[in-house]
């Protein structure tokens, strides 16, 4: 199994631990990730607010780079997935736009053909890799670990672009958790928005939302939140102390990246997965729940 790997900007900076854990987990599973040479930022759901043709063009370039590898493009960020898939859908459905974008790409010796898929790590685990195969790789079943699966908007919505599963009642995260031996709790905010994209212009509302999201997970009895999106992870983890200021109850809850959860079940220790890098310390909890070195 070989993929073109699109890490996205956060994996190079604030979410380095996601780079680390994704690579470790992929290699332990026998998934080959070939990082795209010269990939650029996907636009993070903002560039189209300035110039939508530019947003489509830079992502056409990203996808064209993966086409050269002749491998599907794998992402680990919900928003990168949405941006890349949006560009792909626009190009595949509109010949005129595709021709225009290719006119630009032509100047740099590239062509967007539309021959490869853009997919997400979570989907790959289920659809390409297979849950029974994943189950066989589990060395440390996560028994006793209660998790709140926080999907994040952009892995589900809008359904005509994402469409991996039913956006009103998705199951992917719970299916993976079950195979790893963890228990998924039911909580109100399972499909909520994290607010990350508006944290500057709408700080007050976003902090409130972070408080609600953390508290909902905590009240449902979760030990930690797990998310397939580094932006949700950043919002819920890094801003938790700020969000706490307006909430009387204690909202403290650790937030893990999905590949870190998988990594724990594959037998890696928290430090090998960069879990010590989170603002809210998850390690005491993991020591309590799992047999760690």
């Amino acid at each position: 199994m070989r993929y073109g790997f699109f890490p996205g900007c956060t994996l190079e900076s604030a979410a380095k631990e996601l780079m680390l854990s994704t690579k470790k987990v992929a290699s332990a599973l026998g998934i080959e990730l070939v990082e795209l040479k010269g990939w650029t930022c996907c636009g993070a759901s903002h560039i189209q607010d300035v110039d939508d043709f530019l947003a489509t063009s830079i992502n056409a370039r990203n996808i064209a780079l993966a086409e050269q590898l002749n491998a599907p493009l794998l992402t680990v960020c919900n928003t990168c997935t949405l941006m890349l898939r949006t560009a792909k859908q626009k190009l595949d459905q509109n010949d005129e736009l595709k021709a225009k974008v290719n006119q630009g790409l032509d100047k740099i010796g590239l062509q967007y053909k539309g021959t490869i898929e853009v997919t997400h790590f979570l989907w790959v685990l289920i659809k390409d890799y297979g849950l029974s195969r994943l189950k066989k790789k589990v060395k440390r079943p996560l028994e006793g670990l209660k998790i709140a699966n926080f999907y994040g908007c952009h892995i589900l919505q809008p359904p005509h672009i994402m469409g991996f599963e039913n956006h009103l009642n998705p199951k992917a995260m719970e299916m993976v958790a079950e195979v790893l031996g963890a228990e998924s709790v039911e909580f109100d905010q399972r499909l909520a928005c994290c607010g990350f994209h508006a944290v500057f212009p709408a700080e007050k509302e976003v902090m409130k939302l972070t408080g609600i999201n953390c508290l909902s997970s905590k009240k449902a009895g979760a030990d930690c939140i797990v998310t397939p999106c580094p932006l949700c992870q950043m919002q819920l983890d890094m801003y938790q102390p700020d969000a706490q200021k307006d909430v009387r109850e204690d909202i403290t809850i650790p937030v893990l990246h999905l590949p870190q959860l998988v990594g724990l079940a594959l037998g890696f220790e928290p430090n090998e997965l960069g879990i010590q890098r989170h603002i809210v310390d998850a390690i005491p909890l993991l020591k309590k729940r799992l047999v760690l070195v």
């Binding site: 900007c9 956060t10 190079e12 900076s13 604030a14 380095k16 040479k37 010269g38 990939w39 650029t40 930022c41 636009g43 993070a44 903002h46 560039i47 189209q48 607010d49 300035v50 110039d51 939508d52 043709f53 530019l54 063009s57 830079i58 370039r61 225009k100 006119q103 630009g104 790409l105 100047k107 740099i108 010796g109 908007c153 952009h154 589900l156 919505q157 809008p158 005509h160 039913n166 956006h167 009103l168 009642n169 909520a192 928005c193 607010g195 994209h197 508006a198 500057f200 212009p201 709408a202 509302e205 976003v206 409130k208 890094m238 102390p241 700020d242 010590q276 890098r277 989170h278 603002i279």
Partner: protein, 317 residues
């Protein structure tokens, strides 16, 4: 499945309660069928609204199991299989004032909508007696946004609106502003757009709830992007939202990647960024950001800049 349990949120003007009704399961029925059957056969006091029963009047929208739908357009079978249950919870739309049971009050929304002047401000190219001519291409710009039936589904699901009823306009109001702003017969697009900017345009979470749930499949997210572009073209760039979006555009052009260290500075300016120092220290301590890190340009940055040049040319042509 033999029966469907409908758990309905009731409100009589004073108190609220949930009430359950059992219906025999019948294949191929709609939500509106269920509500009508309850009212006709089980409880005449149940109040809900519906006009056309054909997805054109917009009056029948309700929430089922936490998601807003048009009752007349949505099949019960779809909901039963989506939620894998035979028990459905009905509630009135979110982010609306409730009048009774499932009926909500549209009056405050229409008042709010007046902000964006939801009417044509006619250009000089036409008049009452001769009418207006519009090319097919121009008509296509408004054909989707004019599909809006004012059902309120988008407003019910809007995350920003849920947290901020006073300083944000409902997605259907944004759609209304867009619809007139892009109409070739309208002489004053800015008059529709400026109120949107002044009422929290940049506060949108980009959550995609509105576009995902709209029964008319109106691409509200792209419309919002258009409105944001339009405000920048009007010269409104000195706000956090515009500066944030621009920071991305510039960073990608310079290096191909985002510079997270300078992003707050570019978005908020020096003074505001200073207030984030405790936050920054929190991140530096864990190695999440390195203030001295200067990102290198990506391989092929010259090519990326050529794409920028090309896109710029397209914009101007």
């Amino acid at each position: 499945m033999e029966k469907v349990i409908c758990r309905i949120k009731r409100y009589d003007g004073v108190k609220e309660w949930y009430q359950e009704y059992d219906l025999p399961y019948e294949k191929g029925k709609t939500i509106l069928w269920a509500l009508t059957k309850i009212r006709e056969e089980l409880d005449p006091t149940l109040t809900f609204s519906s006009g056309c029963r054909h997805a054109i009047c917009g009056s029948c929208a309700v929430r089922v199991n936490g998601n807003a739908f048009l009752a007349c357009k949505t099949s019960l079978d779809h909901l039963l299989s989506t939620f894998e249950t035979h028990r459905l919870t009905f509630e009135p739309l979110n982010n609306f004032k409730v009048i009774r049971d499932l009926v909500v009050d549209w009056k405050p929304k229409f008042e709010k909508m007046k902000e964006v002047k939801p009417w044509l401000i006619p250009s000089k190219d036409g008049d009452k007696s001769n009418g207006f001519r519009q090319s097919a291409k121009d008509f296509h710009k408004i054909s989707s946004p004019t599909d809006c039936i004012l059902c309120g589904v988008c407003a019910s699901e809007c995350n920003q609106l849920s947290l901020n009823q006073d300083e944000y306009l409902d997605p259907f109001i944004l759609n209304k502003a867009y619809r007139f702003a892009v109409d070739s017969r309208d002489a004053a697009p800015e008059e529709h757009i400026r109120p949107i900017l002044e009422n929290g345009l940049w506060k949108c979470f980009h959550c995609m709830q509105c576009v995902s749930k709209c029964p008319k499949e109106i691409d509200l997210a792209s419309e919002n992007a258009y409105l944001r572009q339009a405000t920048m073209n009007m010269g409104e760039r000195a706000n956090k939202g515009a500066r944030h979006a621009y920071a991305f555009v510039e960073d990608v052009k310079n290096k191909g990647r985002l510079n997270e260290v300078t992003l707050p500075l570019k978005t908020e300016g020096f003074i505001n960024t200073m207030s984030r120092i405790p936050f920054a220290f929190r991140l530096i301590k864990k190695g999440k950001i390195n203030p001295f890190h200067l990102p290198k340009a990506v391989e092929g940055i010259q090519e990326v800049r050529k794409i920028y040049e090309f896109a710029q040319g397209e914009k101007e042509s």
